[in-house]
């Protein structure tokens, strides 16, 4: 009884003691708000970007398909060979803002962008101008770039401030988004140069070239890319360590027969199979996809779960230069740049196809094969419409869909319907190319 009395008296004096609980499984935000946490924050940036870019192997948050898979599905890099209707909606180019897979990839890319911005802010506060700062800025810039290339114009960028309050973002036009990316890459380049980190400088160079290409500044793009050696690669790495770290492209094509390599999808697509091109290896699975119907062709570029996915390469830098040469009317430089890339892997030199349109086709075909499944193709198809004056029905898959019905007319992803919780957001500004 005495013990009970003592216990009761103790509680009466300080009941909060009884309400104290421990939470050992997660990190309090305050633990990340210090200099020592910067490497961890940088890893956070890379981890969230991996999920957003090459996807993951777990199935949370709608599947973590990643931008490479989703943009490949909307363009001609994949056909749908499974049963999930939302992803079929992407393949058939009929995408509503409520599309569950789009919601997933929009969220993943937003989280990557927000994490990169947070990391940059923390570097700015505790260790500005370092290599980590440069890398965080560059990854953030690529997040903005992927929004610009793959989503409609009008993507907002909100943030959670340190007090946990949502600061709602205004919708940004594509040009505004690209300008933000460029500014970040400028800073990233400056820091990388100061720190003498050539790899990070090259990452920023390629990023700047890609942004400027999207803005139609071909000469500027070529200038940005010029310093990058052809052998350069900055890759987003995957790992067998956990399902989250698995390569999401492998997951949806090898582990799960979801997305198949097509042959000239919708009439306008590239002949990935018949080209027999070593840059796009594939294999007939000898079985249908998960839908039990579509003959399945497995991509061979990412044959294992831990294969890395290129984000920026010296090859892309040369392609940017080739495009700038074509824009400048220098066919020999254009072809020379393309052939210089082909020769080391044993591909025959390309001849001049003779017309401007044919040269453009050749350029984008080469870009397609070199950059297959790296989240470039959708942006390229849009540029063909926007910058080269092609009709969208001549570059995107069109006509009869392989599961019946007709292709729709979407050329990008809408902003997720969940963004309606942002009072400043009223829908895409422009869903055109």
């Amino acid at each position: 009884m005495t013990a009970l009395m003592v216990a009761l008296a103790s509680v009466a004096c300080n009941p909060d003691d009884l309400l104290d609980v421990e939470d050992i499984d997660v990190l309090d935000p305050s633990t990340l708000n210090r200099k020592e946490a910067l490497p961890q924050l940088l890893a956070s940036t890379l981890s969230t970007f991996q999920i957003a870019y090459s996807g993951g192997g777990d199935l949370s948050n709608g599947g973590h398909e990643g931008m490479v898979n989703m943009s490949g599905l909307l363009s001609d890099e994949y056909i749908h060979a499974e049963t999930f209707p939302d992803r079929q909606g992407v393949d058939v180019r009929t995408i509503t803002p409520g599309n569950g897979s789009v919601k997933g990839v929009f969220f993943d890319l937003s989280q990557a962008r927000a994490t990169a911005d947070l990391t940059s802010d923390r570097y700015n506060a505790f260790d500005p101008g370092t290599a980590g700062h440069s890398e965080a800025l560059a990854i953030g810039a690529f997040s903005y770039l992927l929004f610009a290339e793959n989503f409609c114009s009008g993507v907002p960028f909100s943030r959670i401030n340190d007090a946990g309050v949502v600061e709602y973002g205004d919708p940004q036009t594509r040009e505004q988004i690209l300008a933000t990316a460029l500014a970040k890459l400028d800073s990233a380049l400056a820091f990388a140069t100061t720190q003498q980190r050539a790899d990070l400088a090259n990452l920023a160079h390629v990023g700047r070239g890609r942004v400027l290409l999207n803005l139609g500044n071909f000469a500027g793009a070529a200038a940005a890319a010029a310093a990058v050696p052809t052998g350069f690669t900055y890759a987003i790495e995957s790992s067998v360590n956990s399902a989250r770290q698995n390569n999401g492209i492998w997951n949806y094509t090898v582990n799960f027969f979801g997305f198949s390599v097509p042959e000239a999808e919708g009439g306008n697509g590239l002949p990935w199979q018949s080209a027999g091109d070593p840059r796009v290896p594939w294999e007939d699975a000898g079985a249908p996809g998960f839908d039990g119907e579509t003959p399945f062709v497995v991509q061979g570029k990412y044959p294992a779960r831990d294969v890395a996915t290129s984000l920026a390469t010296g090859v892309e830098a040369r392609l940017i230069e080739a495009e700038a040469a074509l824009q400048a009317g220098s066919v020999s430089l254009f072809l020379g740049a393309l052939n210089a890339l082909r020769q080391p892997i044993g591909l025959a030199d390309l001849g001049d196809p003779g017309s401007i349109a044919a040269r453009e086709n050749l350029l984008f075909r080469e870009r397609g094969f070199w950059l297959y499944l790296t989240a470039h193709r959708l942006g390229d198809l849009r540029r063909l419409v926007r910058q080269y004056g092609r009709a969208q029905e001549t570059v995107f898959p069109a006509g009869v869909y392989h599961k019946g019905g007709e292709y729709g007319s979407d050329v990008n992803f809408p902003v997720s319907a969940d963004e309606r919780n942002n009072p400043k957001f009223q829908g895409c500004i422009d869903r055109g190319a």
Binding site: V11, L27, A43, S158, I160, S242, G292, G405
Partner: protein, 1002 residues
């Protein structure tokens, strides 16, 4: 808040420390209680000294003894379920024994039935203004119930228990008076012998596609004496921050004074898969140019001009019938119990073994239960009880539902074996499924220590402290080389997730009773409660299983390890004041206050008031005496209760994530799915109810009618944040949800002839659920199965029931080109989605007739109706509109209406708006859930065998269903016990049970 706690605890401590002043002048009361008609002794009758909490129970000879009674004139009340209460006056002299005998009249009226109040004290129904449902476990033949969920199902108004599949070991949804919460659980809390119990409806960490066990079903129904269901805040205010969804209060069996009574039972039976599964159809065709073969030239593809069928190419194959994965299920159950004791110590000891094998080779459940309940009288004014139950549960669950490894899904989505290597199954041949193993092992101890001390005749202190501890290990194994490469599962994988689950409860209460005037009695109660809920778990997964081992330790790659540690603590205190006028008019008012570790840091304390009025007007002198209306009570109550946020709901946090950088795996952190809210507080549900209890024809018929109106304010909404913020959700107190309804409970002793008796129980209820407000700036919440380009099938939308089904309506269809096929343009859909119905029943009616004939035979049944709800028949939608293998997708002779609903769903393939409205079907049904026949051996026969009781019961469960629903069963759900997500999707339908049981007592 802190001051309040100090006051409560200090007063409580003072009460406990009150010096036990021995009554100098006391005597004893003893007597016997018998049935007035049969003169048979009545065991387990409660004897109470009127105006106090002092009491005793009769032994198996009907005798009782009540010591330490203050000398003087004492009024004594005898109570027993099924009998009218009786009161007598006895003169107690110091050191002497007074006698008070009772002859009780049988009745179906329940005015004086005793229930357990939140204070831990006993109270009669007439004393409370709210309805409390009560299920006497012994009144339900054990052969027809497999678990506690079955025991609860369809026996009390507004208690809707939905068995979500026919999987052995699968769980059930429990909803009482509708759903209150948008984002938190809607399951009631479970209290076992005064101790909060773990009743996690999602009681596993390994997904098998949708189904999951619930911890409620760990318990052995044979150990249960009684279940009381406190339905909502009007009655549950004193249960505090957790009880908004109601309280299921389980009282286990206890001993009683008298000789030891043994009981043994043996029960065997079979489970049958009785669903008629449809065949898979396939039409072969060619492309319109005739150049290429199309192996799935379904009608909608023909209608769209995509293919041309080949003559006589329609094929059908039914793998689930012709190459079946099902096995014959069986059940066996054995139990032994003993109860007895003397006036000082009583005991109940019980043990049971239960094994059930489901209709899949890898689906079985084994339960072992042991119980020891001991109650004793340490002093005439001091009683203690120790109640312990050990439960061992070993469960194997099959894969099914939304799962590519499920045999049912692979069978229903398969194709003619000519076109595939899997014997008609979609992805894997039938031998694969039974080799994918999922085990759950639970060892659980629920124990409590309770005490009651009456230091003064007017003061009673009671308390209970206890623990519900479960050691649970979930394990799964996919053997290597079972699933062909390149699938990641080809190398096999193993999972081992050991968890420890702790729920601690301590309740303390002091009640003082006193007489304020000659006919006015009062009782004041003061109490406090501590509830701590702790989870400690680790999850380990690995791939690359070494042959011959099922251990995670034998895996070689793909490792994933995580831990889950959660702690939630509730501290509460209450004050209750009750008045009783002439034992006819009862008024009580109460206030409870709570603090909780899961509240936001800026929110500290919440109060829940309650008031209750009960008037037994039928006993008033002015009330006309009549055989037609023999008793009448009017009642009303109002109360509030709450529901706490979940662990971490109020916090912003980051979770550790790994990433490979420059060739090395390093650790980063990702923002958790939820952004914190420092002002987060519990949901507050307020409810009032009014009702009446009427006895007709000398109480041969009793009727309880209740209307309730419940409003949940500050409803916690897990609102979607704009994803552009990089954060997913935040819990906010924004919403408002209402539930209203009527309840009816009729018990009738219809006739009682010498060789034929007929009793009837009817329980009915309605529920009207509405989401009144979701919150400013919160967009409609979409969820459920995704379909049609993100137009999810269910929504939480303002002005409609929670979780309602929404789709574009099918306005019409016409075979305009008269080709016998509905093409994509030949179905007309509405422009926008509209509300089509809700997934949970709004009307329920249960009819339980019992016929006893020739004294030794008893037949009882349970016929149950549920209506006013819809079910998304996603199985049919998936087969007809996605896999195109149902008959109506391939056979023109089936009819245009069926084609139209498939085409409406498949129109997205043709760049058109689509709708699954045709597959959202009326789920109303009647079910013959239970039927049993019991033969009681005449006592002389039993005696010849050396026993006192002998009976044989034959019974069946899930015997018949009548419904317009075209799927397998309108009750099942692909997502198990999920809060709202509801559909039939490749889910195992309920199976039929036939069992036989022998009961022997001596």
């Amino acid at each position: 808040m802190h001051r309040t706690f100090r006051l409560l605890t200090a007063v409580g401590a003072l009460g406990l420390a009150w010096p036990a002043v021995a009554a100098a002048q006391t005597g004893t009361i003893s007597g016997r209680v018998i049935d007035r008609a049969t003169r048979a002794p009545i065991p387990e009758a409660q004897i109470l000294i009127v105006g106090t909490q002092r009491g005793a129970r009769t032994d198996d000879s009907g005798q009782y003894r009540l010591g330490n009674v203050p000398a003087g004139t004492v009024r004594v009340r005898a109570l027993r379920l099924g009998y009218e209460a009786a009161v007598t006056t006895v003169q107690v002299s110091a050191g002497q024994t007074g006698t008070a005998d009772f002859a009780l009249q049988a009745t179906v009226a329940r005015l004086d039935e005793v229930v357990v109040a939140a204070t831990g004290e006993m109270e009669r129904r007439r004393e409370t203004g709210n309805s409390v449902a009560s299920i006497n476990a012994d009144s339900v033949p054990k052969t027809v119930v497999n678990n506690v969920s079955d025991l609860l199902s369809s026996r009390a108004p507004s208690v809707v228990v939905t068995t979500t599949s026919g999987t052995t070991g699968g769980g059930s949804r429990v909803r009482i008076r509708g759903s209150n919460s948008v984002s938190l659980t809607n399951e009631p809390i479970i209290v076992i012998d005064g101790v909060r119990a773990n009743a996690d409806p999602g009681g596993t960490t390994i997904g098998v596609g949708g189904q999951n066990p619930t911890r409620l079903d760990d318990l052995n129904p044979a150990d249960i004496d009684n279940i009381e269901i406190i339905k909502g805040p009007a009655a549950a205010a004193l249960y505090g921050t957790a009880a908004a969804n109601g309280v299921v209060q389980i009282t286990t069996k206890r001993g009683r004074a008298g000789r030891t009574q043994w009981a043994v039972y043996a029960d065997v039976g079979q489970l049958s898969e009785v669903t008629a599964y449809p065949a898979n159809y396939q039409q072969i065709g060619t492309t319109p140019d005739g150049l290429n073969r199309v192996s799935r030239c379904a009608l909608l593809l023909q209608g769209a001009g995509f293919c041309v069928p080949m003559a006589d190419s329609l094929r059908a194959y039914n793998p689930l019938e012709d190459n079946s994965v099902f096995v014959n299920g069986f059940r066996e159950q054995y139990g032994l119990s003993a109860l007895g004791g003397n006036n000082l110590v009583q005991y109940y000891l019980g043990g049971d073994y239960n094994r059930e094998h489901g209709v899949y080779a890898n689906n079985q459940s084994r339960r072992v239960g042991l119980r020891a309940n001991v109650t004793g009288e340490l002093a005439p004014n001091f009683n203690v009880g120790v109640r312990t139950g050990y439960h061992s549960h070993r469960l194997e669950l099959p894969q099914n539902d939304n799962n590519d490894q499920g045999p049912l899904g692979n069978g229903l989505l398969g194709r003619d074996p000519i076109d595939g290597p899997n014997g008609g199954y979609l992805s894997f041949p039938k031998a694969v499924y039974e080799q994918i193993l999922t085990h759950q092992s639970v060892d659980r101890l629920v124990g409590s220590l309770d005490a009651r001390w009456a230091p003064q005749s007017w003061l009673t202190l009671n308390g209970v402290t206890g623990l519900d501890f479960a050691s649970r290990t979930d394990q799964a194994l996919t053997p290597p080389n079972l699933i062909p490469p390149p699938d990641r599962r080809a190398t096999g994988n193993a999972t081992s997730n050991p968890y420890s689950l702790y729920t601690y409860t301590t309740n303390l209460n002091a009640t003082a009773t006193y007489r304020m005037a000659t006919e006015l009695e009062a009782a004041t109660s003061l109490g406090g409660q501590y509830v701590g809920e702790f989870v400690r778990g680790t999850q380990a997964f690995g791939e690359g299983v070494a042959g011959g081992t099922g251990s995670v330790g034998g895996t070689t790659s793909g490792f994933a390890i995580t831990s889950q540690n959660t702690e939630v603590i509730t501290l509460g205190g209450y004050l209750q004041q009750r008045f009783s006028w002439r034992d006819r008019l009862f008024l009580s008012a109460a206030l409870r206050g709570d603090d909780n570790s899961a509240f936001g840091q800026d929110f500290k304390f919440i109060y829940y008031p309650a008031v209750s009025l009960s008037w037994v007007i039928g006993e008033e002198s002015f009330f006309p005496q009549s055989d037609w209306v023999s008793s009448l009570r009017l009642r009303s109550s109002y109360g509030q209760s709450g529901q706490r946020p979940g662990f971490r709901n109020a916090e912003t946090f980051f979770t550790a994530v790994a990433v490979k950088h420059e060739g090395v795996d390093v650790v980063g952190a990702a923002l958790g799915p939820n952004v914190g809210n420092p002002t987060l507080k519990p949901e507050r549900s307020a409810e009032y109810e009014v009702g009446l209890d009427v006895g007709f024809l000398r109480d041969r018929i009793s009727l309880e009618a209740t209307y309730y109106d419940k409003t949940t304010e500050d409803a916690l909404i897990q609102r979607n944040l704009p994803p552009s913020s990089g954060a997913a959700t935040r819990f906010e107190n924004l919403g408002k949800v209402t539930n209203t309804g009527f309840e009816l409970m009729l018990n009738a002793h219809v006739f009682d002839w010498q060789d034929l008796q007929f009793d009837l129980a009817v329980a009915g209820a309605t529920n009207r659920n509405r989401l009144v407000r979701l919150g400013a700036g919160v967009d409609t919440i979409f969820f459920g199965l995704g379909a049609n380009n993100g137009d999810f099938i269910q929504r939480h939308a303002e002005g409609q029931p929670l979780g309602g089904y929404w789709q574009r309506r099918i306005l019409g269809y016409e075979d305009a080109n008269a080709d016998g096929i509905i093409g994509p343009e030949e179905v007309e859909l509405d422009d926008a989605a509209s509300y089509l119905g809700q997934p949970l029943p709004t009307r329920e009616l249960s009819v339980t007739p019992t016929v006893t004939f020739l004294r030794y035979f008893r037949v009882s049944g349970l016929l149950n109706y549920r209506g006013g709800f819809k079910v998304y028949n996603s199985t049919a939608q998936f087969r007809c509109a996605v896999f195109l293998n149902c008959r109506e997708a391939n056979d023109k002779s089936v009819g245009l209406a069926e084609q139209a609903r498939a085409m409406a769903s498949a129109r997205a393939n043709f760049g058109l708006d689509a709708s699954d409205a045709g597959y959202i079907e009326d789920g109303s049904f009647w079910k013959l859930r239970e039927l049993s026949v019991t033969a009681l051996a005449p006592r002389r026969w039993a005696n010849r065998l050396g026993v006192s009781d002998l009976s044989l019961t034959l019974s069946g469960r899930n015997l018949a269903t009548w419904t317009d629903y075209t799927g397998f069963d309108p009750e099942i759900n692909f997502n198990g016990t999920s809060n709202f997500s509801t559909a039939e999707f490749l889910t195992q339908p309920l199976v039929r049970y036939f069992t036989a049981r022998v009961n022997i007592g001596w």
